[in-house]
């Protein structure tokens, strides 16, 4: 077959047209919509609050609400607890319970609010409350996160519902913290599965789940039967972006109204609001092997950390140098402790002294960090390593992912771990030092790699106290740990930045990272 020049051009033109058509069809076939997305309902209307989070909630199971990614959505929005801790004052305030009393040393009685309904229209009764506490605190098979975190030391609870508005909780030993522990339990219906976790719960909160397009967005909608004030926003739409810069950009660009967990240099600009969170960062030492088995070496490491420099230059001034493993809002915080002063010469003298006494200070040890655990973690560790070199110690840095790092954070530690300084970040959401010292300072604590029998006794005695005596007893524990053990070099009481659109009013507090109450967010008038 022969083709005339005109025919050739026509054929080339057809080929080009075919390619162009293929490209157009590819896009047309997609309809410009993305698979696995719900493209037909972009938010942005005046009555929808658009929130962007660092990650998608793995589940909305209420008994997992002490996991940040779950709790920030579910707590006090979809479900509610009987009572809740005010993150600013530390006091417990009524929610679904109106009063609670210690009717006997080991018995607490809760009176429930009347007229409360679940979002499916059913009444909230004492049977629901009993089932929810039973499910979260006693059900070992379900292994709820809140069970280990909050009820780990309280033993099995005996629950009863004497009438439709009363719940009693019997403890094995007198437990002054029982109401605080119960404040971590989100109320669910009595017919909620006790053998499997639920991804989309029915609760009594001001919002209920409208749609959850997995991987893309979650939409909550307010409902008319809520017992409290109707929230200002009829809907809330959650999206998630891993990068802080993208979350900040979404607020700056008007695509989101509120962005959580931003860093100082994520670019939130005028939309950024700083707030202290519950987290404290520290190096936790193993104390059984040289060179970290000598308290002078641990003290020297502590003195070689330039906390002010790290907070100012790396954290952008967000947070403050730490003197202990909890922040000022927590019961037991010791006001008299101050962050260790940066003193390289003094630190070097301590190392030299230990060396002269035969301590193997030249033995290398590892500084282990968890990648992306907090902004600038790698740079912080590098700065510390550099200072350690100057005082005559040899530290190697190992950054690990969460799973690998957890092997060094939780007992039993690897047998061949060697001497380790582990970078940790601890958040005391409960507001009481008991939830910190037992885990980190006691010799058998799940996350402890130091401790002494004397400190164990002190911790045990502090746990039996109430009121001011309790505050002083725990303050004493922190002082003793610093002076006699020095199993930690505290870095900073951390802070965070919230991106807030100009047309939105919200005051973040220490609990914002764990519990973002949508009802507290209002449009600016």
């Amino acid at each position: 077959m022969t083709l005339s020049p005109h025919g050739l051009r026509a054929r080339n033109a057809r080929a080009a047209a075919l390619v162009a058509a293929a490209a157009a069809m590819s896009l047309a076939a997609t309809g410009c919509s993305v698979a696995n997305s719900d493209a037909g309902d972009p938010a942005g209307g005046g009555n929808t609050l658009r929130v962007v989070l660092p990650q998608e909630p793995p589940t909305l199971e209420p008994c997992e609400a002490s996991l940040t990614a779950t709790g920030v959505v579910v707590r006090s929005n979809i479900t509610e607890p009987l009572l809740e801790r005010n993150p600013t004052t530390g006091t417990l305030e009524p929610r679904l319970a109106t009063e609670w009393t210690q009717t006997q040393p080991t018995l607490w009685t809760f009176k429930l609010r009347s007229g409360v309904k679940f979002s499916d229209g059913s009444d909230f009764t004492s049977e629901d409350a009993v089932a929810a506490i039973e499910r979260s605190a006693n059900n070992t098979k379900l292994a709820c996160n809140v069970q280990g975190y909050v009820f780990g030391e309280s033993g099995k609870l005996t629950l009863a519902a004497p009438d439709a508005s009363t719940v009693t909780v019997q403890t094995g030993q007198p437990d002054p913290l029982l109401p605080l522990r119960v404040s971590f339990v989100e109320m669910t219906k009595s017919d909620t599965s006790t053998t499997e976790k639920v991804r989309e719960p029915v609760g009594t909160g001001p919002y209920k789940i409208e749609t959850w397009a997995a991987g893309q967005k979650l939409t909550l909608t307010s409902w008319d039967g809520y017992w409290g004030d109707k929230p200002a926003y009829a809907k809330a739409e959650y999206q998630w972006r891993e990068e802080g810069t993208v979350r900040a950009a979404m607020v700056v660009n008007g695509e989101a109204d509120l962005a959580t967990n931003l860093g100082a240099d994520d670019g939130a600009g005028d939309t950024g609001v700083q707030y202290p969170n519950n987290e404290t960062t520290a190096l936790r030492f193993t104390t059984d092997q040289a060179p970290l088995n000598d308290i002078r070496v641990r003290q020297a490491i502590d003195m070689s950390i330039d906390r002010d420099g790290i907070v100012k230059s790396l954290f952008g001034g967000i947070g403050r140098p730490a003197s202990q493993l909890i922040g000022p809002g927590v019961v037991g915080y010791n006001e008299s402790l101050t962050p260790t002063a940066y003193d390289l010469a003094g630190a070097k003298a301590l190392v030299d002294q230990a060396r002269a006494d035969g301590v193997k200070v030249d033995t290398p040890f590892r500084i282990i960090g968890r990648t992306a655990q907090f902004p600038k973690i790698a740079e912080s560790i590098e700065l510390i390593q550099s200072a350690l070199t100057q005082i005559g110690l040899t530290a190697k840095i190992e950054m690990m992912d969460t799973s690998a790092q957890m092997k060094y954070q939780l007992r039993p530690f690897p047998d061949d771990a060697g001497p380790v300084a582990l970078m940790i970040m601890h958040g005391n959401q409960a507001g009481d030092a008991a939830f910190t010292v037992g885990q980190y300072f006691a010799t058998d604590g799940a996350q402890s790699s130091s401790g002494t029998p004397q400190l164990d006794q002190q911790i045990k005695a502090a746990g039996t106290q109430t009121g001011d005596a309790r505050k002083q007893a725990y303050a004493g524990v922190f002082a003793s740990e610093n002076k006699d053990v020095r199993g930690f070099a505290f870095l900073a009481n951390m802070g965070a930045v919230l991106g807030l659109a100009e047309n939105v009013s919200y005051a973040p507090d220490a609990a914002t990272g764990d519990e973002l109450r949508l009802a507290d967010v209002k449009p600016k008038s």
Partner: protein, 311 residues
Amino acid sequence: MLTFLRRRVLTSLLPLLAVVLGVFVLARLTGNPTALYLPENATAQAREQFSAANGFDKPIWSQLLDYLSGVVRLDFGTSLRTGESAAVMALRAFPATLQLAAVTMLLACLVGTAVGCWAALRPNGLADRVSSLLSMTAASVPDFWLAILGIWVFAIMLGVLPTSGVDAGGLSWVLPIAVLMLRPAGVLTQVVRGAMISALGSPYVKVARSKGAGERRVVARHALKNAAPPALTVAGDLAVGLINGAVVVESIFGWPGIGKLLIDAILQRDFAVLQAAVAITAISIFVLNIAIDIGYALLDARVRQKVGAAA
């Protein structure tokens, strides 16, 4: 051709099985994920219960048998993280990645071919030098940096594109595709340029020119057709890389694809999701490779003859 296809599919099954087994073994080498899923101070009893409930307490060969028997039934198990079917999660996410990769690759091929041909027409000329510089830069720039820069310029400064997400219709595609296509477009430009320079200097092109064929015909009908096979091979590799490498772009732009799912599954030691996602990705890559082989045969008469002879 059918015989060739049948043989190609059968030879692909072995590596596919190796991938399925490999991901199972490698995942288990990272250890028991119980610590990630239970409270930090969970009791030893609770940890044992969790391990037993998810089969982590069994010998690895027993876990492997359970896994393989599930794969045969297309049951990859349940996600530890979400409680959903792992296969459902992977199948839900995969089309979004496929869409992104397909459109990106098509555009990268068009751009790479056009610019590569243009540069090859006058080797070492201004157009060639400029396109070489740009294409090499495009092939070298990290996706992460480019994505953040793109958001800053086009979303924040100019306000013409959304920062991320999939709600803005066609506009949602622009930044992810632009970021994702730069590297393949740059590489393809270089490959097409080299192949075209070689082809344009070939005797058959000289013959065509001496017979009076126009430059457009010489380029399109003679040189490009002969330069296409190496470009197709590279394009195939790049397409595979796109499916695997969309992790960064999906994470930054909130694209609900399998790359993000895969990296989350790795970090969370969510073995079932990891295995399902890898299996689906591996199958798609094998399909793609077969498609490339067919394309090669269609473009290159020598290969076509070999295929015919083998059949």
